[in-house]
């Protein structure tokens, strides 16, 4: 499993996903925006874990989860 730069990505979320560099960048930006707008990523992570979508074992499933996280953070107002 790849590890990623954890500067702005919460450790627990980073370790649940298998990320390419571009996916890491995308997730990093999502996390920055979530922090600025008060969107709770822990809540999203708990939901995905309860649904059995986390942790991911490969990039394909990670990509789908990343898309869900993106929609939750960037498209839900």
């Amino acid at each position: 499993m790849e590890t990623c730069n954890k500067t702005e990505i919460p450790d627990v979320l980073a370790s649940d996903l298998v990320l390419s560099e571009s996916m890491k960048n995308r997730l990093r930006q999502i996390c920055i925006y979530a922090a600025l707008t008060g969107i709770d990523l822990d809540e999203m992570r708990d939901k995905l874990t309860a649904e059995g979508k986390l942790p991911c074992s490969d990039k394909n499933s990670s990509k789908k989860v990343l898309s869900e996280i993106y929609d939750y953070v960037a498209c839900s107002f």
Binding site: I30, I32, Y33, L36, T37, Y70, A74, F77
Partner: protein
């Protein structure tokens, strides 16, 4: 406006005797500017943080006076669409503005050789109708007391049948319009935003009511007016905010008398956004995770279409015959 608006006033030596330079210095009550060799000696210096002061630079334009319009900008059906960088940078401080990605600091540079710009446009005008955005990199209305450029552009449009000018503004001044040369080829385009957007993201700009006052003043003076709901910004409660904004505009402006309406959600070139993200790590609007399409960052389709359709529907509901230009 006074000298106190600017920390320093610089004048390029070769622009020192220009009529525009002398006029601006007189209007600012400045008798002792600092003389420099080239405007970039000051303009290109990086200033740390948004709180730093602002200088004014008067210079001659060493480069192009006209550029072709960017693909993400509206041409309003005009085939030959240009912008003129006669003034670089803006007196306002909008968080999302591309100028923050384009220019290193807050200094304003006014090119005093505006007659050269007109000469260039008049050359093109011989071959085809020319449409020029004269307030592209600035807000000329907001600087009118200093420059007098709005009046000059209006005169240029009046005297040349093949030249149309758009003067884009957020300025709420109502007094300038009755003294300007009026023609149907000088179009005042007002950027209108919900008050929440103004308060949070458009620092130093007038509120919606004040801008509406300027819209009506321009229309009463006989100018064609464009309303620009652009850029639309996505934030919590955006839908109610934009609905309230359209309600207010429709109840205060006779939309049937407006020339046309422009709508568009936020978009920006990738390089400018990269610069802005480094400068403004705490900015919600700059740090939104935009998607990149052909070198431009924009909202994802599910957000963009929702926002743009929402506002189109509101406008059509208030004024079914309104001519609406969509940036896409």
């Amino acid at each position: 406006m006074s000298h106190a608006l600017f920390e320093n006033i610089y004048v390029e030596k070769n622009a020192a005797s220009d009529a525009v330079t002398l006029r601006i210095l007189e209007r600012l009550g400045c008798s002792d500017p600092e003389y420099i060799v080239h405007y970039k000696d000051v303009f290109d210096l990086r200033k740390e943080g948004c709180a730093s002061g602002r200088s004014l630079i008067l210079a001659r334009n060493p480069g192009k006076h006209l550029y072709e319009g960017a693909p993400v900008c509206q041409s309003f059906g005009n085939e030959h669409f240009y912008y003129s960088p006669g003034v670089m940078n803006c007196i306002y401080d909008c968080e999302y503005c591309f100028l923050k990605g384009m220019y290193p600091g807050r200094d304003i540079c006014i090119f005093t050789d505006i007659e050269e710009t007109f000469a260039e446009i008049e050359k093109l005008e011989k071959d085809f109708p020319v449409y020029v955005c004269a307030s592209y990199n600035t807000d000329l209305n907001a600087l009118e007391s200093i420059t007098g450029f709005v009046s000059e552009w209006c005169r240029e449009a009046l005297e040349h049948e093949n030249i149309s000018v758009e003067l884009r503004t957020k300025c709420s001044r109502t007094d300038i319009y009755k003294n300007l040369p009026v023609s149907q080829r000088a179009i005042f385009a007002f950027t209108l935003s919900p008050d929440e957007v103004t308060e949070r993201f458009e620092k130093g700009t007038p509120g919606l009511s004040e801008r509406i006052g300027a819209v009506n003043a321009a229309m009463e003076a006989g100018f064609p007016v464009r309303l620009c709901f652009d850029p639309m910004i996505y934030f919590r409660n955006w839908e109610d905010s934009y609905t309230a904004m359209i309600d207010k505009v429709a109840s205060s402006v006779d939309l049937s008398k407006v020339r046309d309406i422009s709508i568009g959600s936020f978009r920006i070139s990738d390089q400018y956004l990269k610069n802005m993200r480094k400068k403004f790590p705490e900015s919600e609007v700059v740090q939104y995770p935009y998607v990149c399409v052909s070198g431009y960052y924009q909202y994802p389709d599910k957000v963009r279409i929702r926002m743009e359709d929402h506002i189109k529907g509101l406008i059509a509901g208030k004024c079914p015959g309104a001519l609406i230009y969509d940036w896409r």
